[in-house]
């Protein structure tokens, strides 16, 4: 059954019971269907009716064509669009039903028709099969009426407008009879009715007790039979079954709890605090200072402070007794512990063949670099005869590094053989060396005269980096000099050592006449002028050198160009024309090259005889020790700031400002000579009265101790006034100020001593090298008559010993020999570490020795006196013949002499008296 949505809506509306105007079906017209068709009645009719859709009075019918003919309601003839309905008489329908009985179309609605009150029934054409059939019967009069009448109104309205809101006319609700839908049953079930008949009791009393009080008494229920009815409890069998099995389900449920918090997010913020201390302004300070309170306070407190300070002075509060206790055990170490262990040895076949090492120097700052200078191993005669060959073979200074024992790292070119050299203490890139004269002063070989007996300067600052990197083996790649000639670059590609040219050589005429045997840098806190007086050194670096040579002179050199430029300009011009410096030479000391003159020339003339001493080694009081940081607090000099540049590059003219004279610099020095003498002198120059020339003072003291050339004069690193001198076959220790002689002198050894050096870490230890290649280790605290240890190092003569402290665990000793080999030895622990009070003990020992010397002197004098007296005594005893112990002849002789004397006396008296003539004589 097709239901248009409209009709369903309509049915829904009808269920609510709203009353609206009933409109006929005007589907055929096609007008706007805003109308609702409503039928108010709801009846329960047969299923045939359209009650299911809310139209109980409508009965769909099928009219066959025969029926249509009979009843004259043929489609499109009688019933048309305009008039889709037809009124049929009731009688007609009944007749039709009778005639055709079951076949009649009206059969389903037979009852309705019969009951129909009116005369005519309405049949409507259901063209669109709205109710399922092509016709339908309207069963009630009212519906009929409404159908017939309103359509006219609808037609009218439909034609007028579309979509007009219908006019709502209020109809008050009409009473309708109750239609039961079965809800009564539910109500009946729910309602509470009395199901039990109520029991009625009537209670009466005797009239006379009416109104009186009622007395109630108790009665036991069990006292009267049937007074009660009991329901005793019994165990009902139904309930005694034990449940043996029970199905139980368990479930683990996590305890879940929800919680939430909310944090207040504060965004990060930068916060800073700055504070500064409270301070008084100057006025407030003044105020405070002048207050009485402060004065009183200070006075009252001062005493306590003073006591406390004095306490500290009396007793050393910082002395650690515990630690001091431990050191004493190692004071007497055995011999076996002290030895020198071979660490490394360097030799080079190319440069060092037949050469002897003349001087060894450790690099002061870079670890593991040691420089070695070599000379030819020839005697004097051979030197002369082979002088031609020596021109070609230049002996360089080689730099060795621990990392490479075969190839030297750097080579410094020397104009001639360097006999001694030293690193500058302020700047280890400057090296000064003294040369040996290749020639013996032959004028024919001009070329060499230029380079003999000179002081040479090298500047290796460019190679410093390379030396430092020698360990890592990065050779040649990091060289910073840009303008290098090609041949040197070719050298770099191989493992050849770098070749450094010298910067400057001293001038020939003014230098030494023979080989320079010793060279020292003056320490950087003072400098000397032409008079030899010490001034403060403003530059803060070492600028002066001292050299000595067996030509009986000691020269002082200054690295700065001299003030007088007039003279030098001509010389310089000449020099420039003559020699052009090769491009790879650093120009640090260009101003000095070949025109370098000494500042002071001090002669050492002999005091009693004419002639001069020929010094070989010199030792100054004020030495700058590489290996020991001196406390220079007494010389607080602020050097002139040169900026970051190397001060040596800017040394030109000595400062024009007046320099302060330093009073407490000692200008004395010790000198060892070729003849084995040790001389103590002063370098201050004096003015000679007549000529006004500057001459040097005569030496104060002279001692002849050694039998050969003095090879070493050296101050102890621990005591400034103790000097070791080694020469010939013995050595001696001197104390400055003790003029009577050495405080210790060794006995002559079997082999010549060639070199000596103090140990850097132990105050009483020093090393002596011998010509048979042995090293004697002397320990003054152990024994003083012989070395505490002897160790063989090489087969040839030892030429140089230099110890060096690298770290507290590593102490090295560099020993060079005649064959050009450099041995590096490690000093063992006992030899390198002093015992706790070693210094004090050694000092004590020296003082004792001095006292002993004094005593000896006194005794000498005493003995001399004694000897004289003894002689006198002897003399006297000879004359006087006292006692009977003399022999007979002696007695007779004595008597004869007495008699002769007596006679002489007699004669004199008689002559005096005039009794005797002069000619009278005894026979």
């Amino acid at each position: 059954m097709l239901e248009s949505p409209k009709s369903s809506k309509t049915s829904a509306l009808s269920a609510k019971g709203s009353v609206k105007k009933l409109k006929g079906e005007t589907k055929a017209k096609g007008s706007a269907k805003g109308k609702r068709k409503q039928l108010g009645k709801k009846d329960e009719e047969e299923d045939v009716s359209m009650a299911s859709i809310g139209h109980p009075e409508i009965f769909p019918l099928v009219f066959t064509e025969k029926t249509q003919e009979i009843l004259n309601c043929r489609i499109n003839e009688d019933i048309t669009e305009e008039k889709p309905y037809k009124l049929l008489k009731k009688e007609d329908i009944i007749q039709d039903m009778k005639t055709r009985a079951a076949v009649s179309d009206f059969h389903p609605v037979k009852k309705i028709v019969l009951e129909y009150p009116g005369e005519e029934l309405l049949i409507v054409l259901d063209r669109e099969f709205k109710y399922g059939q092509n016709f339908y019967l309207v069963a009630t009069e009212e519906a009929k009426e409404s159908f017939l009448n309103p359509p006219e109104a609808v037609e009218e309205e439909g034609e007028t407008k579309e979509g007009t809101t219908e006019e709502y006319v209020y109809k008050p609700p009409v009473r309708k009879p109750w239609v039961s839908l079965g809800s009564e049953k539910e109500i009946e079930e729910e309602s509470v009715n009395e199901s039990v008949r109520k029991i009625k009791y009537m209670i009466s009393r005797v009239r006379r007790e009416f109104g009186s009080k009622v007395k109630f008494t108790d009665r036991n229920a069990s006292s009267v039979k049937d007074g009660y009815i009991e329901c005793t409890s019994y165990q009902d069998k139904n309930f005694s079954i034990m449940k043996l099995e029970k199905d139980v389900g368990a479930q683990v449920v996590p305890k879940v709890r929800e919680m939430s918090t909310q944090t207040k997010w504060t965004y990060p913020r930068n916060a800073t605090t700055q504070y500064f201390p409270r301070e008084f302004s100057d006025e407030e300070k003044e105020l405070c200072l002048s207050s009485e309170d402060l004065k009183e306070f200070i006075i009252s407190v001062f005493l306590r402070v003073e006591i406390a300070l004095q306490q500290n002075e009396i007793m050393n509060a910082f002395f650690d007794d515990w630690k001091a206790l431990a050191e004493d055990e190692s004071a007497f170490g055995g011999k076996s512990d002290a030895y020198l262990k071979e660490y490394q040895s360097f030799t080079d076949l190319h440069y060092l063949k037949h050469r002897r090492v003349s001087c060894v120097c450790w690099h002061p700052t870079i670890y593991g670099i040691i420089a070695v200078s070599v000379t030819e191993r020839l005697s004097y005669e051979e030197r002369i005869t082979q002088s031609g060959k020596l021109l070609l073979q230049k002996s360089p200074i080689l730099f060795w590094s621990f990392s490479d024992p075969i190839h030297p790292q750097l080579m410094l070119e020397c104009p001639e053989e360097v006999y001694c050299f030293e690193f500058c203490p302020s700047d280890p890139n400057i090296i000064a060396g003294g040369c040996r004269n290749g020639q013996v002063g032959y004028a024919a070989f001009i070329l060499h005269l230029q380079y003999g007996r000179t002081v040479v300067l090298w500047d290796i600052s460019e190679y410093e980096e390379k030396l430092q990197n020698a360990k890592t083996g990065a050779g040649g790649s990091k060289n910073t000099a840009v303008n290098m000639p090609t041949f040197i670059q070719a050298q770099q590609s191989g493992k050849e050592p770098h070749f450094v040219r010298y910067c400057a050589v001293s001038s020939i005429e003014y230098g030494h006449k023979t080989v320079i045997t010793d060279i020292h840098w003056l320490p950087d806190y003072f400098e000397v002028n032409r008079m030899g007086i010490a001034f403060e050194n403003r530059t803060g670096v070492c600028v002066q050198l001292v050299t000595c040579s067996p030509d009986c002179s000691i020269l002082f050199w200054d690295l700065r160009a001299p003030k007088t430029t007039i003279q030098n300009s001509t010389e310089k011009a000449k020099d420039e024309k003559a020699i052009e410096a090769p491009p790879d030479v650093p120009t640090t000391f260009k101003h000095l090259d070949l025109s370098w003159r000494p500042l002071i020339k001090a002669n050492l003339s002999k005091s009693d005889t004419s002639g001069d001493y020929s010094p070989t080694k010199i030792s100054l009081v004020e030495e700058h020790f590489h290996y020991k940081m001196q406390d220079k607090m007494q010389y607080q000099i602020k050097p002139e700031m040169f900026g970051d540049e190397n001060p040596y590059k800017q040394l030109r003219v000595p400062s024009a400002k007046p320099l302060k004279i330093l009073e407490n610099i000692a200008t004395n020095f010790f000198v060892g000579t070729e003849d084995g003498e040790v001389i103590y002198s002063d370098w201050k120059m004096e003015r000679e009265s007549d000529s006004g020339r500057l001459i040097s003072q005569k030496p104060a003291n002279k001692y002849t101790i050694h039998d050969g050339i003095v090879h070493t004069i050296q101050r102890s690193p621990f005591f400034k006034d103790i000097i070791l001198s080694v020469g010939g076959w013995n050595f001696a220790i001197w104390k400055e100020g003790v003029t009577s002689g050495p405080i210790l002198q060794s006995c002559c050894s079997s082999k010549r001593y060639t070199v000596g050096h103090w140990s850097l870490s132990r105050a009483g230890v020093f090393f002596i090298g011998r010509e048979d290649g042995n090293i004697d280790i002397w320990d003054l605290l152990e024994k003083t008559h012989e070395p505490s240890q002897t160790q063989n190092i090489s087969i040839s003569m030892i030429t140089c010993i230099k110890p060096w402290i690298v770290s507290s665990k590593q102490h090295f000793l560099a020993i060079s020999d005649d064959f050009g080999t450099l041995h590096i030895l490690e000093i063992s622990w006992t030899l390198s570490h002093p015992s706790s009070n070693e210094r004090a003990s050694v000092l004590h020992y020296f003082e004792r020795e001095v006292k002993h010397l004094d005593y000896f002197e006194q005794r000498q004098e005493f003995r001399a006196k004694e000897r004289e007296e003894l002689e006198l005594e002897k003399q006297r005893k000879k004359i006087k013949v006292a006692g009977g112990q003399k022999s007979r002849e002696q007695m007779e002789e004595q008597m004869n002499i007495n008699y002769v004397d007596f006679l002489d006396e007699e004669k004199k008296i008689l002559t005096g008296l005039g009794l005797l003539k002069a000619t009278d004589r005894f026979a």
Partner: protein, 95 residues
């Protein structure tokens, strides 16, 4: 004023004395022989220390009072003499 100077000079001239600082009761330095930053540092550090020491002594015995304070370290010693109002502290190096 001159007396104060003279006394301070006498202390300063003792062997091993590195410097003297005079500080008032609040810890603000009044006079000093060393540079400003050192002065401020010492004054700041010592002030609370002195307070603590003094309060300790007085806590134990209220009749007692702090007379002298010496702080000895490995390298040097600091001596503090507290007074009623200003307090002086000097420090001395080890010999």
């Amino acid at each position: 004023m001159a007396e104060v100077e003279e006394t301070l000079k006498r202390i300063q001239s003792q062997k091993g004395v590195q410097g003297i600082i005079v500080v008032n009761s609040e810890g603000i330095p009044i006079k000093s022989t060393v540079d400003n930053s050192t002065t401020v540092q010492y004054a700041g550090l010592m002030h609370s220390f002195i307070m603590k020491a003094r309060s300790t002594v007085r806590d134990i015995d209220p009749q007692n009072d702090l007379t002298f304070l010496r702080i000895r370290s490995k390298k040097n010693e600091i001596m503090i003499a507290p007074g009623k109002s200003p307090s002086a502290s000097g420090f001395q190096a080890s010999c």
